[in-house]
Amino acid sequence: MALLQISEPGQATAPHARRLAVGIDLGTTNSLVATVRNGVAVTLSDERGRVLLPSVVRYRRDAGCEVGYAAQLHHAEDPKNTIISVKRFMGRGLGDIAHIENAPYDFVDAPGMVQLRTVAGVKSPVEVSAEILKTLRARAEASLGGDLSGAVVTVPAYFDDAQRQATKDAATLAGLNVLRLLNEPTAAAIAYGLDNAAEGVYAVYDLGGGTFDISILRLSRGVFEVLATNGDAALGGDDFDHRVYCWALEEAGLSLLPPRDVRVLYAKAREAKETLTAHGEAPLMARLSSGEFVDLTLKSETFCRITHTLVHKTLGPTRKVLRDAGLTIADVNGVVMVGGATRMPEIQHAVAEFFRCDPLNNLDPDKVVAIGAAMQANVLAGNKPQGEDWLLLDVIPLSLGIETMGGLVERIIPRNSTIPVARAQEFTTSEDGQSAMSIHVVQGERELVSDSRSLAKFDLRGIPPMVAGAARIRVTYQVDADGLLAVSAREATTGVEATVSVKPSYGLADRDIERMLRDSVEHATDDMRARALQEAAVDARRLLGAIDSALRADATLLTNEERAEIDRGRAELLAALEGGDHRAIKRAAEALNRTTEPFAGRRMDAGVKRALAGQKIASFDI
């Protein structure tokens, strides 16, 4: 037997400490967490061996809450406080939500995003989602035996800026360091592509509980390139349940039901739908609170008839995404099926018929997104050596524009632009002496502002008096690698500037997040301070580690003076860490970040030069 090694005292046991990173699929119906362990991506289960966590949160009078199966148990008896499918409300106003009349909640119409009144107080969908994420985080930390270094959280590719920002806020609120928001079909493509060593053009058809995405990717030599994406952020398995529910009401001659019965009948409708996956017909039985008994049989022909339009609704975006990618069906090498709803035989048939090939089902459609996210998290955490990792090039799903005179949208960044992306455009004043300009940021493909999603409004003030049309106001849109937008506006002659990270008008301002964090920590200020200190220390150590590795790689890019200045900054941050005051640590970290800015820029420049130099050598080899 080989002898086991024991390390010298004081030395790390691992040659290079792995960072604990996870991928989280925050789904409409179920959520999952996965990680890469010993080189293999695995989903993590709860103490009873269950991998899926139902995306259900129940608030209790004592201000506590239950998440997952425990909450699901009460969904019929306590519908108002048991929130299901909260993902449908993320970044959405009251008017945007389909079938809202069937939702048993006490909605509060807040600006930008709807809120829910529960026994534990008014909750934002962001807070509800954060409870789900906290549960998954605790599961991962228990399973991995340590604090998480970072997480990749998935979002539907067709989520707009408001929905993405809401998801990121929820993750922050759950105490997660978000390495990246990753599009669900892209995550699935990573899992599928790496598992099957796939090359060529693939379509990912992702029908989840509440969202539909269709993405076209080109996979080649370690690059996953999204060519185009489309979808419907309010179409999913839930809508099929709804059709069955409506059918059952009609067949049984029922009309308005109390919330409890609505929940019961919905659950039965879903069961019947799931039974039809393997059977030609399914019973649909329920006892209502009035004592009435619903006893129906749902035949698969009936199911196909009542849900036909839903299936058809997925094909419009599918045609469109192919056109956007500049491809035809013949160019597609395979179609990967993702999401529990793709188990429905009629979906499988429709997709097979459309693409004229059998869809690929060899990965579990419930798990594939979390698995891909875990693989990406492992790369982003730096756990994979260069050469074994891969590159992911993703796009924004919806065009970003600005309101111009007459309520029209001027497109600034078109959909399917590879991110990160920035575009600038100049605008001018419409009246003599106009001193301010209102900037209205919108998203979508429609020409009228009234048909688009409003993301933010802000004013640029202090424009010097000029005749109409003389001012030059340059508006810049920047979308980062998470697909999140920031907008700035600048008047050219005076340099007057206004910037907005397109967040506060619909999502949550940073101070809201702080307040929620405070609320969630039940024990007063000591815990708050301890938590702030811990977070600042983790961030500071991450920064020091990153700078050390940058210095190891590229110290030659610095002059002696610059190097000395960085070393001074490092020493100051280390001293602050010793001191244990989170504000001092933050200040020192910010200062060090500023000091290293020119170094960071030079490293990118050097990276580009090396990339080109490496290429020249490579082409000599050929």
């Binding site: 056109r323 590159l391 990276g607 290429q615």
Partner: protein, 172 residues
């Protein structure tokens, strides 16, 4: 500022070595993409986003014949006057009128097959203009003629967008 061609180590010219461009793009992204700096400090993350944004923009411009021609003409100090100069050769305009009428008919008839055919026809027209652009810019260095062709290309692009809206209307 460095031209988009120099950024990728390519020769200036309308004819494009697509393989070399793609290889350079991927090599560069492999080194500076934000995914390589997800765990780094703020300064590096910001720098990475800035540089990748620049590289993505350059790649987009070079890949698109219209944008590539505009970039080359700008480098040569030629103003294309896309918005102000609308003079077009008569035969070009006549073909456009015919295409546009066919598009209206297809929209009214809600006929996707006709749209497909129109698109194909537009594609051929585009390739013709692009071929002439390559000749004007690379061989003849006749930038004024090239500017005229760029305006024609822009015209075709608008028509393509209208075909796209017609598809949307049919599918809605």
């Amino acid at each position: 500022m460095q031209s988009h061609f120099e950024l990728f180590g390519l020769e200036l010219g309308f004819a494009l070595d697509r393989v070399a461009l793609e290889r350079a793009y991927r090599e560069i992204q492999g080194r500076i993409h934000p995914d390589r700096f997800a765990h780094a400090g703020d300064a590096e993350r910001r720098a990475s986003v800035q540089w990748t944004t620049r590289v993505n923009e350059a790649y987009r411009v070079l890949q698109d014949p219209l944008e590539r021609a505009l970039h080359l003409l700008e480098l040569n100090g030629v103003d294309v006057a896309l918005e102000t100069n609308t003079a077009m050769p008569v035969d070009f305009l006549e073909r456009q009128m015919a295409l546009r009428e066919a598009l209206e008919a297809a929209s009214e008839a809600r006929d996707a097959a006709v749209l497909d055919a129109l698109r194909a026809e537009l594609g051929v027209e585009r390739e013709r203009v692009v071929a002439r652009l390559a000749l004007c810019i690379d061989a003849e260095k006749d930038y004024d003629a090239a500017a005229g062709l760029v305006r024609e290309l822009k015209f075709l692009e608008r028509l393509d967008a209208e075909i796209e809206s017609a598809y949307d209307a049919i599918e809605a």
